[in-house]
């Protein structure tokens, strides 16, 4: 996994609450390979492009000032709905490395950590303030710094956020979670032995073909 330490980049405000993962990447693209060169074009596809494949001028990512944005500043419950990890893959493919919101869909939140994208939760009024700041100065950059856990504007306003220490460590080191867990092999074996004694009924009988 790609490490995340410190990022300064253009931030794009997305004001709608409850942006679901179906909107972030419509279901028909889920069968596509995330290594495809055009993968990034599936991001927000149906609201970003018109039926003839042209960019819709009113969609915020299509505005000149937000080209090359790296940070999403969203509203409540961004990434809710379907568990599709592709919602994070497609954001990352486009170039996003951080999502700032008052709250995030639970599974989306977890999926971010696994793909080197930092989810930042801040109080609703702070996030609304950040969105207002960007609307006032389109193209303004934000800096997200994971070690001190801060989000700051070029003007110097800085907000501290909470992040799970475990996830923080993994992100800073860009560490692979499966590798970490395999280090617990003895514990897993011991657990399985005890589980088999105490809850023997848990293993289902073999299914007949």
């Amino acid at each position: 996994m790609r490490a995340f330490t410190r990022l300064t980049g253009v931030a794009v405000p997305i004001d709608l609450p409850n942006v679901d993962t179906d909107r972030i990447i419509p279901a028909r693209f889920l069968r596509r390979d995330r290594d495809e060169p055009e993968y990034a074009s599936f991001l927000f596809h149906d609201v970003r492009f018109s039926a003839d494949g042209l960019e819709k001028a009113d969609f915020i990512l299509n505005q000149r000032r937000y080209r090359g944005a790296r940070i999403v500043v969203a509203a409540e419950n961004f990434g809710c709905g379907s568990s599709r990890e592709a919602a994070v893959w497609v954001l990352a493919a486009y170039g996003f490395r951080a999502v700032i919101a008052p709250s995030l869909g639970d599974i989306f939140h977890q999926n971010c950590f696994k793909n080197g994208v930092l989810p930042v939760i801040l109080p609703a009024d702070v996030v609304a303030g950040l969105r207002a700041h960007i609307h006032a100065q389109p193209g303004a950059a934000l800096t997200v710094d994971l070690q001190p856990q801060t989000v700051s504007t070029a003007g110097g306003a800085s907000h501290r956020f909470e992040v799970d220490p475990f996830r923080k460590e993994m992100l800073l080191a860009g560490r692979d979670e499966i590798g970490l867990t395999l280090g617990f092999e003895t514990k897993i074996r011991e657990f399985e032995a005890r589980h088999a004694r105490e809850m023997a009924w848990v293993v289902p009988p073999r299914a007949s073909a």
Binding site: P17, L30, D164, I178, A200, P205
Partner: protein, 459 residues
């Protein structure tokens, strides 16, 4: 109850309050193909194939005839079959009558039982919580993690109890209950929580109905939703093909009876609803929280104070093509879909058939059973005949128009009365407009061509 199951499955304590949680059941569908490919590339193997089960539901066609719509999907479905053989995983594949929607066949086969941890790479995994299991949806990276280690790093969620006391009025069912709950707590209301549904209104429900309630926990933001196991649960599980038998059954049952929350159990949040006040409910917008009684009118954004909420309402109404003040019961529909892991079980099909019987569908209406076995059981009861005589289409099992990954989508601008769980923009096809409701209400919409209060159709 949550506590009792959680504690039993902790393998190790990790940093920052995380625990390594053991997984008793891993259910897989076509969406796992990417994880299987990464697994194969890394040369690793599935640790516990005996605890992993796969089926094909999202991409398989439900029209009679060829089960796959195109080569890309054929390759994907065949790939899943190949991976499961290589890894020694039981696979309910194409051609197997046990094939069906993953959240329908888990319980049906007896894989879903109380007291276990169960995960699946799908957000509606909370369905299985209806049995008093801790069940939640995971992402693709987590699927691979479970394949290799049979565990997950998890942080303890907060707990919420939603109590529904009293009796449901005639014409009101489990779907109306969960839609009313989501309207009350909001689409983000359950974020970070495991929900326990309790109260006499829940206790009185069949397993099929309890699954409908737990299924939509994610639409309220919660990853898990559970109901304490009781005699209804045990009677459902006993004798299922993959349920414990003999001595194992007795041992399991003794444990399951200890699971219900103790009388003094404390929850981080409590919510209560009166069952008797819930009416047949439909959604008008593009979030499951946009739900109202069928007797209401399309709400007016001008009445909403908060700017963000007002703007999203304006947008939702524009997408849905609705005008504020229109009575919901006057909205004409183009199509009806009865199916999905929310409402495709035998009880659901019976409820829809009761309304369809002796009437005639005036718009295209699909009935998509949740599994091959449900389809067969429904046919034995003659439900297929009722639907066919009423002009409904009787199809093969699968996810179908719930998500349309198999190409079965509604057309742009079409309005669908649907028993599925998501009314997001584009969920049932680009530009398609979804109204969520119960199977009886969907059948009522099919025979009148508009959203209809099913209570007005009763004779």
């Amino acid at each position: 109850m949550f506590e009792k199951i959680w504690t039993r499955h902790v393998v190790a304590e990790g940093p920052g309050g995380h625990v390594l949680l053991y997984v008793d059941r891993h259910l897989l569908h076509e969406g796992a193909t990417a994880a299987f490919t990464r697994l194969a590339r890394s040369g690793r193997r599935v640790r516990r194939p005996d605890l992993s089960f796969a089926t094909a539901d999202h991409y398989v066609r439900t029209a009679p005839g060829s089960p796959v719509p195109d080569d890309e999907i054929r390759i994907m479905v065949e790939g899943l079959g190949r991976h499961t053989v290589l890894q020694g995983i039981t696979y309910f594949g194409v051609g197997d009558p046990r094939r069906g929607i993953v959240h329908v066949i888990g319980p049906e086969q007896g894989l879903t039982v109380p007291g276990i941890t169960l995960v699946c790479g799908d957000s509606h995994t909370a369905t299985h919580g209806a049995f008093g299991a801790l069940a939640f949806g995971i992402g693709s990276s987590e699927v691979e993690h479970v394949m290799v280690t049979q565990t997950l790093w998890q942080k303890r969620p907060r707990t919420m109890r939603i109590t529904v006391d009293g009796r449901l009025a005639p014409g009101v069912d489990a779907k109306d209950v969960i839609l009313a709950i989501i309207a009350k707590i909001g689409a983000g209301g359950g974020v970070g929580h495991a929900i326990e549904y309790a109260g006499s209104g829940i206790r009185a429900m069949s397993m099929d109905e309890r699954m409908t309630v737990c299924n939509m926990s994610i639409e309220g933001g919660a990853r898990a939703g559970m109901i304490a196991p009781d005699d209804t649960t045990f009677a459902y599980v006993e004798g299922r093909p993959l349920a414990p038998r003999g001595a194992a059954w007795r041992q399991a049952l003794a444990f399951w009876k200890t699971l219900p929350s103790d009388p003094g159990a404390v929850f981080d949040r409590e919510v209560a609803l009166a069952a008797g006040e819930i009416a047949p409910t439909v959604t008008w917008g593009t979030s499951p929280q946009d739900a109202l009684p069928i007797t209401a009118r399309v709400p007016d954004p001008a009445d909403v104070g908060e700017t963000g909420r007002r703007e999203s309402m304006v947008r939702a109404l524009a997408y849905m093509g609705l005008r504020p003040g229109t009575p919901l019961a006057e909205i004409a529909v183009n199509r009806v879909f009865i199916g999905s892991c929310t409402n495709s079980r035998l009880d659901d099909l019976r409820a829809a058939a009761r309304v369809a019987k002796g009437r005639r569908a005036v718009v295209p209406a699909w009935v998509v059973p949740g599994s091959g076995l449900i389809k067969r059981a429904a046919e034995q009861e003659g439900l297929d005949q009722i639907f066919l005589e009423a002009g409904f289409e009787w199809r093969e099992s699968g996810c179908s128009m719930c998500v349309g990954m198999n190409g079965e989508t509604a057309r742009e601008g079409e309005r669908v009365a649907s028993t599925s769980n998501r009314n997001f923009e584009g969920r049932q096809g680009k530009g398609a407009r979804t109204h969520l409701m119960s199977p009886a209400m969907a059948a009522a919409a099919a025979v009148t061509g508009r959203l209809t209060d099913v209570r007005t159709l009763r004779t």
